[in-house]
């Protein structure tokens, strides 16, 4: 506890802030700036953007609120935080929407200018919460952010409307002051971003600084906080979202494998950003094709793979549903493609901007006939990078389609990422077939992989297709025994992959009363929950699946060593179903389908419930 400028300075290890306002208030941008700066000064962090399905819902309404939650710490953290310590509410609707999650005794910074009659009514407040005593127990700072911004910018040449648009930078300034962050990264960003709009750059700069100085000089803030850098492994870091990491992972896979990257895709939330990112990388020879629909997306991808590209298609649940028939074609033709499914809330259109894990069974089984596919799942934003490479590597080596699952949470969420060098990345070992001698389209190697003989190669002319193939020759075959054989070979080939992926390492004791097993984007919540439970003396272990079909070889063994198996999933128990049928083990399901990542305490409470014996 130091003193500076007459204000108390407190040291904290762990803070969650939430920027919330109208869709038009620029909250996503504000949150991103705060997180970039926070990463820059060395905190570990994790973010969760939350925006409406509407492009611009009418101002002031609750469904028009856009929020950005950000968790940062001097320790290693893995979730965006269960609820904010500090809520910046740019209007009443924002307060209404996010107050429920606010931590006990949390702080609210409210833009009182926006708390007028109209906005209160739109937010369905009968009385002004800033005045009716309903916020007792919270630290409420009422700041006339709009007025102060207008005041600060009164000498600029901007229109009144544009002036008001800078108010998010004012709010950001306050927060930078409160958490002791430098202004430079954002100032630099403003100058680059608005290079051509000098007026705007100037206004935002002034507003940011004004907010900072406001915090410093005004009487209302009595404390500011220091969150020291986290002890992260040495290296160069950047902040990265899952979609960006996925895109870069595929570029990396293209460079590593030597195959041109092809993406055939149709826009869909929350997967579109992968398309957006990859369409920028033309100088890597990346070819992106915005197809007429998801079916054309995957079919063009299959065409490109037939031709020798590292070919991928990206989508979300409804799009995956449309791709199933063609995915089956990739299965039977044994062509290497990667299908990325950035999961969102379903069924049907469902909750398009919310996260979920309910496409797993579709990925596993959603095709006609026995049509096995390899399934991988990324667990954090940065892990998307590695899993994109892994998905590519497996597809090319084993000559088969791979589905890589991510979800809306990790796709849009960000975390600091220690950037690997090319040399640290996985190796690709597969070859194009070029030798006509003894060539047979379905002759298999030790991995049961068939040769990749691409058009343009003299002497390897051959035909593939969706009718059952005779093993080895690849000719059409209606032979009963051949079909039985081929169905089993396709399945066996998937199982061969398990020789090529890492075994699971248990986090915690290798046997005991309870193991928590998760997959995909819930890893952060589970890590933190298990850690906290252990800190409170509970003996609980943990594993996390990134390879689902096939499972790592030692999974069955591990599970057999625990009395209880807890499977938290953001679905109604899909992994659980697979574990039960594969290993005949009982599972304790823990399912929430709220369009949101798990909160740490939810899983921790469940662990305690099990180990406390109250539920046995």
């Amino acid at each position: 506890m130091e003193n500076e400028n007459g204000k108390e300075v407190k040291s904290l290890s762990d803070v969650t802030v939430m920027f919330a306002g109208d869709s038009g208030d620029g909250m996503q941008l504000t949150g991103t700036q705060f997180s970039d700066t926070t990463a820059f000064i060395g905190n570990d962090l994790n973010t969760l953007p939350d925006y409406p399905a509407e492009i611009r819902a009418p101002a002031g309404t609750i469904y028009g609120v856009s929020g950005f939650q950000l968790h940062f710490s001097s320790k290693d953290i893995h979730t965006p935080g269960d609820g904010p310590d500090v809520l910046v509410a740019m209007n009443p609707a924002a307060l209404k929407k996010y107050k429920v999650n606010l931590k006990k005794h949390g702080t609210i910074i409210a833009n009182i200018d926006a708390f007028d009659k109209k906005n209160l009514k739109l937010a369905k407040y009968d009385t002004n919460p800033l005045e009716d005593g309903s916020l007792q127990g919270y630290h409420v700072y009422k700041v006339p952010i709009t007025t102060l911004t207008q005041e600060a910018l009164k000498n600029t040449k901007l229109s009144p409307k544009d002036v008001i648009r800078s108010k998010n930078f004012f709010a950001l300034g306050i927060m930078y002051w409160m958490f002791n962050r430098p202004l430079e990264p954002t100032l630099k960003w403003i100058n680059e971003k608005f290079k051509k709009k000098h007026d705007v750059a100037e206004a935002n700069t002034i507003a940011l600084k004004a907010g900072y100085y406001y915090g410093d000089t005004t009487e209302i803030f009595t404390a500011r906080y220091i969150v020291s850098p986290a002890k992260l492994p040495k290296g160069t870091y950047r902040s990265i979202s899952g979609n960006e990491a996925t895109a870069m992972g595929f570029v990396a896979a293209s460079v590593l494998s030597g195959h041109q990257l092809y993406l055939g895709s149709y826009p869909i939330t929350p997967a579109s950003d992968i398309l957006h990112h990859l369409s920028k990388y033309k100088n890597f020879g990346v070819k992106t094709f915005q197809a007429e629909d998801e079916i054309a997306g995957i079919c063009s991808t299959i065409g490109a793979a037939f031709g020798g590209s590292l070919a991928i298609t990206t989508t979300s649940g409804p799009g995956l549903a449309l791709k199933t028939e063609a995915a089956g074609l990739a299965v039977i033709t044994e062509l290497p493609i990667v299908i990325v499914d950035v999961q969102r809330g379903g069924p049907s259109t469902g909750l398009p901007t919310k996260t979920e894990q309910a496409d797993l069974l579709q990925a596993m089984y959603g095709r006609n006939g026995e049509s096995p596919i390899a399934v991988l799942a990324a667990s954090t934003p940065s892990n998307c990078f590695f899993m994109a490479i892994e998905a590519s590597r497996i597809a090319l080596k084993f000559m088969l389609p791979v589905i890589l699952m991510t979800d809306g949470y990790i796709a849009n969420g960000t975390e600091p990422w220690r950037i690997p060098h090319e040399s640290e990345l996985p190796k690709f070992d597969h070859e194009l077939e070029t030798n006509p001698e003894g060539f047979q389209p379905y002759k298999r190697d030790e991995n049961l992989s068939r040769p990749w003989a691409v058009p343009g190669t003299p002497g390897l002319e051959h035909r593939i297709g969706g009718l059952e193939k005779e093993n080895i020759t690849g000719n059409v075959s209606y032979e009963p025994d051949n079909h039985d054989l081929m169905c089993r070979l396709r399945e066996e080939k998937i199982q061969k992959i398990s020789n090529d992926i890492p075994e699971l390492v248990v986090d915690g004791d290798e046997d005991g009363k309870l193991i928590v097993i998760g997959w995909g984007g819930t890893e952060g919540s589970i890590i933190d929950a298990v850690k906290k439970a252990r800190e409170e003396g509970f003996n609980v272990s943990r594993i996390h699946l990134k390879y689902i079909n096939p499972f790592p070889k030692n999974l069955g063994d591990i599970l057999s060593k625990f009395d209880n198996i807890l499977v938290p999933e953001i679905n109604l128990g899909q992994l659980s179903k697979i574990l039960r049928s594969t290993y005949l083990v009982n599972t304790i399901q823990f399912n929430k389908m709220r369009g949101l990542p798990f909160k740490t305490y939810e899983i921790k409470d469940k662990i305690e419930e099990i180990l406390g014996g109250s539920n046995d």
Binding site: K287, F289, I464
Partner: protein
């Protein structure tokens, strides 16, 4: 086209394009002729054998790739144009051909068809139009005439048919032609013309299904009917037809009309002179509506051919431009771009 020609050391023949698979169409099926004409034409194109790829959907016609000794892909129903598009975009050095049926391309594959036309991807679409679903044993198709009695329309179908040529033109296709299985020479010509076109080339081939729709085109293909009921489009030539070349087509306002060249009212100079290369598709569209018209001959030949940048060319150009501007992509540079910071 010269940049693409790369003369083979050994001259290819039709036989080089015959695969070792037994052809399994019904005896008498029009598909045999199409296969034969393709096998005859391909060696004359001066292209590398290994660069040819045939892609098909599902249907009798879609068995085509098995019989060609080129790379081939018998895919799923309706999706061949999408697969071909991906292959061509990714690997523009290949010559990508699609064999498809009226169900495959016009029914389930309709969307990929119109989008391929619109995008002008350099692929060749050969529509085997037998006006019936052959492989599924005889239901009416989107090109079947209204009132057709089939298994799924026991009281006569109530669907109006597509005019595939009009649909292609409505989708801005840059090459649109029609021919027929029973006219091997014309078929070969059209194949060759399509091969030489840069951009999406669409050929509607009237094809006789002996089993489920036998004789659908006899009024256009049989000796006695042909001269009076059809007209062959030739670029730069006046539109003349008839057994004795005594009839012609004029434009009467917006509509084509048949005139008699013998009754002294009209001469050849009054007739429409066909122009394949006109930029606007409206002429071709007018001609397309002569199809199956009670008073007009059905046209065969190239309705339209215009050359504009193909999708694949544009993509290669853009890659080149961006690479020239930004330099060839470097992975480390990409990974380390943006806001980075060091942890020591």
């Amino acid at each position: 086209m010269t940049d693409k020609i790369d003369v083979q050391e050994v001259k290819l023949t039709a036989k080089d394009f015959k695969s070792d698979q037994d052809v399994r169409w019904c005896p008498g099926c029009g598909d045999y002729s199409i296969l034969a004409q393709v096998q005859r034409t391909f060696p004359t194109l001066g292209k590398k054998k290994e660069n040819f790829v045939w892609i098909s959907g599902i249907g009798c016609s879609s068995r085509f790739p098995y019989y060609m000794d080129t790379y081939g892909f018998h895919s799923i129903h309706g999706r061949a144009p999408a697969i071909a598009t991906g292959l061509k975009i990714a690997h523009p050095e290949l010559d990508v051909w699609v064999a498809t049926g009226d169900g495959d391309l016009m029914s389930i594959g309709g969307n990929h068809f119109i989008h391929a036309c619109r995008k002008n991807v350099d692929i060749k679409l050969l529509l085997f139009n037998n006006q019936i679903y052959g492989l599924t044993k005889g239901q009416y198709s989107p090109t079947s005439e209204r009132g057709k009695i089939t298994k799924s329309s026991p009281y006569g179908s109530i669907d109006y048919p597509f005019n595939p040529i009009s649909l292609a033109l409505g989708s801005n296709a840059t090459f649109v032609a029609r021919t027929v299985d029973r006219d091997p020479k014309h078929l070969q010509q059209m194949i060759k013309r399509a091969a030489e076109h840069k951009g999406t080339a669409f050929i509607e081939i009237y094809q006789n299904c002996v089993i489920f729709n036998n004789g659908a085109f006899f009024s256009l293909t049989e000796k006695e009917n042909r001269p009076e009921h059809t007209i062959v489009l030739e670029h730069g030539e006046p539109m003349i037809f008839g057994k004795n070349n005594d009839k012609g087509i004029i434009l009467d306002g917006f509509e084509p009309k048949v005139v008699n060249l013998n009754d002294g009212k009209y001469t050849i100079a009054d007739l429409i002179v066909h122009d394949e290369f006109e930029e606007s598709p409206v002429r071709a569209f007018i001609l397309s509506h002569m199809t199956n018209h009670p008073d007009l001959p059905t046209p065969f030949g190239v309705f339209r051919q215009v050359v504009i940048e193909t999708y694949n060319e544009a993509l290669e150009r853009q890659i080149k431009e961006v690479t020239e501007k930004k330099g060839k992509g470097d992975l480390d540079e990409l990974l380390f771009s943006g806001n980075t910071w060091e942890v020591a």
